[in-house]
């Protein structure tokens, strides 16, 4: 059974008299440890699918099952609980809480879980170390560069050890050099920690870090291919 199972997923919007269907009966399976990159022109449903998998939007039809939980059946409150325990979300614009320090931002998702303070501290320190920001724990977002802010956002997404991480154009607001650093970091998290990721991007270079590439067009998946990273990973798995 795949970690993420999507069946007949459909999303519609009303815009005046017109009905727009950004997702139209999509089926998809994502295995544990996969790094799925979704590409395609604007308005083809990439972000919509990401938001539906993240449980922050509601589908009109279809089923999403993540790690054995059919999230399309959950209430708003249940979905929130599920997100706290199973989802890491990396935003395009970082979306850090400006009044909280780096440490406090990363700690936020853990405050929602039954966890002792010492355990929280340990996890935050590990997450900050993973993104190379241990020395910025007491800094506020305004004291960080764009790349550092995004790394804090990534630390916040991974700190609770979620079932799946979704990233909506995580390098979209960064310069080329910083973007490359973030790509390396995301690839490393996938390879070394085995984190399952779904990432939306327009950037071919960013797409190259994934193990699998989906191309969406008019609400449907028109291309689904393994990348060289994916083959490499499969080869490594087979060798081991």
């Amino acid at each position: 059974m795949a970690l993420v199972e999507i069946r007949n997923l459909t999303k519609r919007f009303r815009k005046g008299d017109e009905t727009i269907t950004p997702l139209d009966s999509v089926d998809l399976d994502v295995e544990e440890g996969e790094f799925v990159v979704m590409m395609g022109p604007s308005g083809t449903g990439k972000s919509t699918m990401l938001n539906l998998v993240a449980g922050i939007d509601r589908a009109d039809d279809g089923v999403i099952n993540v790690g054995g939980t059919e999230i399309t059946r959950l209430s708003r409150g249940q979905l929130a609980d599920w997100r706290a325990a199973h989802l890491g979300y990396i935003f395009q614009t970082h979306n850090l809480i400006p009044v909280l320090t780096t440490y406090e931002n990363v700690e936020l998702p853990l405050l929602l879980l039954p966890m002792a303070r010492a355990e929280r501290r340990k996890r935050v320190e590990v997450a900050l170390e993973a993104v190379g920001l241990s020395d910025r724990a007491d800094h506020y977002p305004r004291q960080l560069s764009g790349g550092q802010e995004q790394r804090v956002g990534i630390a916040r997404a991974i700190v609770a050890n979620p079932t799946v991480i979704v990233a909506d154009e995580p390098t979209g607001s960064l310069d080329v050099t910083t973007s490359e650093q973030i790509q390396v970091l995301l690839g490393r998290l996938n390879r070394e920690l085995g984190m399952t990721m779904l990432l939306v991007t327009h950037d071919e270079q960013v797409a190259s870090i994934g193990t699998r590439r989906l191309r969406l067009d008019r609400g449907r998946i028109v291309e689904d291919s393994q990348t060289s990273n994916g083959h490499h990973q499969h080869r490594l798995s087979a060798t081991n």
Binding site: I56, R76, G77, A80, L87, Y89, I97, L108, L111
Partner: protein
Amino acid sequence: MFRFAPYVFKSLWRHRARTLLTVSGAAVALFVFCFVGSVQQGLRRLTEDEDAQRTLIVFQENRFCPTSSRLPQDYADRIREIPGVKDVMPVQVWTNNCRASIDVIVFNGAPAEKLQSARDLKLTSGDWDAFAARRDGALVGRNLAQRRKLVVGEQFSIGEISVQVVGIFESPVPAEENLIYTNLEFLQYTRGLDAAGLVTQHEVHLTNQAAPDAVARAIDEALAVGPVATTTRLKGAFQASTLSDLVDLIGFAHWLGYACVALVLSLVATTTVMSVQDRIGEHAVLQTLGLRPTRVFRLVIAESLLMCVIGGLLGTGLALAVLAWSGMAVGAEGVTIAFRPSWQLGATGAVLSLGIGVVAGLVPAWQAARTQIVTALRQA
């Protein structure tokens, strides 16, 4: 919930000027509310407490200002014979101002032994013997002594009257603490009063079984044949009637108290709405991280509550301190209303702050909790 306390505090501190203005607005409004409340409590005590309901005041008919009421002192003997009367205390009243004033000085002259038995006065300094022995000796109410900074041994003069302070007293009736008691003869023979053998009023203490209205009627009927006609009323009714202009004003002032409550409500609600509207995206992020809508609701309520409670407690505490320290009173025609702090007032201020804090946060909290995450993230 307390895990998010730093977020709540820091969110309020983020717009500190706005927060401090709101907190100070709430403080000022609760200060005024408590002040108005203390005046109303003072009036209620004056007209409704046991002393006011079991004591009669015999005053000259159709007279209001104490300087114009002149009753024979020997009326006391005739009143004492009426069934239901336990004791009578003749009182000469002198005031520096018959009109409404917040610094009115009222002298009550009464026989020392009667005063000691009729009033539950506790001397905090000085002694009764000195009062009885010294013709110009005066017992000064604690509030007045505080307001005028009077101490035992000091000479106090106002108008034609000059007294020696021989005691400072506390009383279970706060309005008493704004009076100066002298010996009756001293006040009767004060230059300008020309009241030898005359008093302003007779204070009639009733037996436990006596019906006040019936005794009052009997007194007026018995004295109708005397040289001066009288009107006898319960002390509470007498004081309410004497202060009728002020009573109307104080009655109107309670609307001012309600206006203060409405002011705080709208002030805190406005600030909280602005704060929520500034952070639509932030609340969406928090929900994306896994905060339930109900928790977002509680966080917003906590912010509103905190502003209101801090401001409210500051205002209430300040009002109680000022009331306790200033010994303020308002008086007219020889009757005073004491502005006193009370636990009841403090508790009302605190409960009101809590209530307003919750109510003011309801709408913005509901808005924040109902945020559509995806839409809000697009706007962020």
